[in-house]
Symmetry: C2
Subunit: 256 residues, 2 copies
């Protein structure tokens, strides 16, 4: 059962949301200039409808245009005393059909979706069969040629641990540091689907899509064995494989 | 490898297609009056673009508006000598994104998608969690309350074998016979999804959606144990559970 309400801190409660969304219609998570539809914008609009206050929703991190989530996390502060599970239901009643709140819970005042995150799990999904998708279109990257999964798995293991991932960073982005720690990596086949799952303490812009593109080049025999290690060492984006489309990417979970 | 071409029969070749579709935008499989978008209509239009002839495509059976397929089967006759796999690629290049041809193959002249079918496998999928779907919306039926799967499985076993399924037939349809043979039934949980799979030699109109609705009433405790047997015996639609929405239903396979 929910412990509700927690003692207020400065009169404010801190609410954590776990969110599923189909990113197809959105310009990504983060509120941008005028006009662009974003997940954060849709959430803030829905909260305004319910709580009648302009609240700022903090996400665990941005997801790009077209990227999906099954476990994005966000939090916001409110003085409303609404029970979290009632808020979940109210949000699901007013949010667009492609965004759903899976959980709402009150958390301690110092919880911060982004700064408190210990790791994130993303999954890149490839539809690997001769014919393009009908049912999963927009949710997977279609790749019709055969791939050497055993080789891809061996190569993916070279991503494990603390590395400078500059080679897998979008060329137009310069983040202050490009060292990240990859905690887990798994490549699974589920019939016609290939899932590349990666858990890390953080990700550079386009990092997973660049890694997935590189692993495909390896799996089809265009890049030789040893490429991941070599490309990591080169610290230069132009040696990595192509950046795969956003639609195959899904934020599965944020760990705290 | 394909044996191609087979000797012509009356100068015509018989082509079998295996088709995946997302049924959301369609008024079902079968060509109807003017205006309604159908899968059959989309296929015939695509074949006309490729082969420049008005061909009639025969499906294994109708699927209703909103019903999906991962393995619908259809066939048509043509005097074109195009290799079946080239035809598959050409069709996928001109068909709408929510229809995909998984296989095209030449079959013997007496193959008929409907009359040659030995059995069909349908699956009804329920999203069983507190929050509505975002990613799978339109592909599942959302049911937030807990269900007794063990009881549902015991009851579902009563469907096995040859029965008069009149109690599970749409009230406004009167087919000549209502006896069908259910060969397999399985209820599987995959995390938040519950799949009800049924294989039978044929299905009455709305039969699976009525059976799924009845199983849910049993699983939530509204109908007592023994209900499936009792309802089958009553041979009257009004004793069965509700007809669930089309979106949870998918034609998985047609066996020949």
């Amino acid at each position: 059962m929910e412990k509700y309400p927690l003692p207020l801190f400065n009169g404010m409660r801190n609410i954590k949301l776990t969110i599923e969304y189909d990113g197809r219609r959105y310009a990504g998570w983060q509120v941008q200039g005028k006009g662009a539809k974003t997940i954060q914008g849709a959430l803030e609009k829905a909260l305004y409808e319910i709580l009648h206050k302009k609240l700022k929703v903090i996400g665990s991190g941005r997801t790009d245009a077209g990227v999906h989530a099954k476990g994005q996390v966000a939090n916001f502060k409110t003085d409303s005393l609404i029970a979290p599970d009632r808020l979940r239901m109210a949000l699901n009643a007013v949010l667009p059909a492609d965004i759903s709140i899976l959980r709402a819970e009150e958390v301690s005042p110092d919880f911060h979706s982004r700064f408190s995150a210990k790791s994130k799990v993303y999954r890149y999904t490839i539809l690997n069969r001769p014919s393009r998708p009908a049912i999963l279109r927009g949710m997977v990257y279609f790749y019709p040629y055969s791939l050497d999964l055993a080789l891809m798995r061996r190569e993916a293991r070279c991503l494990l641990g603390r590395h400078d991932f500059r080679s897998f960073q979008a060329t137009d982005k310069k983040e202050r540091g490009s060292v990240r720690k990859v905690k887990k990596v798994a490549i699974l086949r589920d019939k016609e689907l290939i899932h590349i799952g990666i858990e890390a303490n953080g990700f550079l812009y386009n990092m997973i899509r660049n890694i997935a593109g590189t692993l495909i080049e390896i799996g089809r025999g265009k890049f030789p064995e040893g490429s991941i290690k070599r490309i990591l060492g080169l610290k230069n984006r132009r040696f990595a494989g192509p950046n795969l489309p956003a639609k195959g990417l899904c934020l599965l979970k944020v760990n705290y």
